[in-house]
Amino acid sequence: MSKSVATLIPKPTTIVRVRTETSNVRTYYVKLPKDVELPKPGQFNMLYVHGVGEVPISVSDVDHRTGVVAHTTKFTGSVTGTFTYLKEGDLIGFRGPYGKGWPMDSSVGKDVVLIAGGIGLPPLRPVVREVAKDRARYGRLIIIYGARTPKDLIYSYEYGDYEAIPNTELHLTVDNPDEGWRGNVGVVTDLIRQADVDPEDSIAMICGPEIMMRYAVKELLKRGFKANRVFLSLERRMKCGVGLCGHCQVGPYFVCKHGPVFPLWFISKYFWVDQI
């Protein structure tokens, strides 16, 4: 056995498909390496680009049959920037799956409200898939999604499928509309305010920029959501994914290990603290 830290050593695996989502977002489908368990909705993987670096990326889809897992990545920095060069057939280093996912079990029988901003939709997509697959287990599915411009909306090609799921609503909004845009304009909070939900009987799952999540949470609380019905997927700098490197601490919690999905009540003591 290696004398180094085995958990930090990636396994090379193949990119089987690359799909362009927007001008700076693509989805990378990779084959799960052997002996790796299938990720659950909300979990993430550490992806390593040869000689370049490693980044945490959420699982945005799982093909249970083939063991292919999707990662929708936005090119924002030095490592993710090199994802642009990755093509079908290339190798990528894989570690995972890590973290605690969305509360699918406690959502059984309840309405599921998904609130996403920007690149926050990918980790919620497996929830949509899960609900669609086992439609009877859950109540209504309400998807609220906002992006900067219509061009930044991810997965627009499958919104029709979402709406075709029985008992499902999709609400989209953008900050800056273009000519063809017919939908809402404004922040997601506005949509939360208007949405027809029953706080007593719903589970809200939120992912997006932290500032957007704060406003969303405030709005949900205003609407009567209890802190144990609201779940957030947090983001922090991350080097290891397994609670060792320390960077992702939010108060006493490691986002990688105790999260990334947290019930609001669990972190509420820290969530509002400035620069925690």
């Binding site: 040869h50 000689g51 370049v52 670096g53 920095g77 030095s78 920037g81 090199t82 642009t84």
Partner: protein, 255 residues
Amino acid sequence: MSKLRVAVYKFSSCDGCQLQFLNMEEELLQLTDMVEFALFYEARKAVEPGPYDVAFVEGAVSTTHEIEILKELREGSGILVALGACATAGGIQALRNWANVEEFKKYVYPRPEWIEVLEKVEPLSTYVKVDYEIRGCPVSKEQLLSFVLQLLKGKTPRLPVDSVCLECKRKGNVCVLVTKGIPCLGPVTMSGCGAICPSYGRGCYGCYGPMIDPRPAGLNELFKELGVSPKEIRLLFKQFTASAKEFREVHGGYG
């Protein structure tokens, strides 16, 4: 894969930074399989015309002629990299920015009227957009190589930006400031050199310039407590990257 076409050029400086390319000795021949030094006067006679993928520019700008060439280089290069303290902060020659250049000309030259230089010595960024800075006087050859290899990988190159202290402690040095009271700029200086000054028993003299988010004023207070004279403290901050904004906080603006 086509080679990365590189231009290496210099303005007012000592040649030490571009020399680091030639100092890569072991890696140099392998590197030339991936990099074409299309323009590199120190190393070759032939000049391949631009445009270049990357221009590494050493030296500070101190004549109008240099401004012109710099602008041409900027135009003709995809990426412009400022190499070393001279290019990123004006370097040692920027010390004349605090003096009367006419008086300086008279002091050094019998025929000062022939000397045509700009009033101030400036880093490249005063005149053109600089894409990356590699710090140091000189830049470290390891950092330079890492930078080039990152570029070759298509990566936005990243070099560490934190304090020299970090490297110093990782290397296992004993702090010269705490044990010997030697004034050391390590706590406010950007890492990258390998903390060599403290490794050799002296204080850092700040040749990598200010780290990210530094607190030079706090260090100034400490030096005073250690009994260093205010004049010597000013001189310490006013060396190879004297023009850096954060260091000017301590030793004063241009006088």
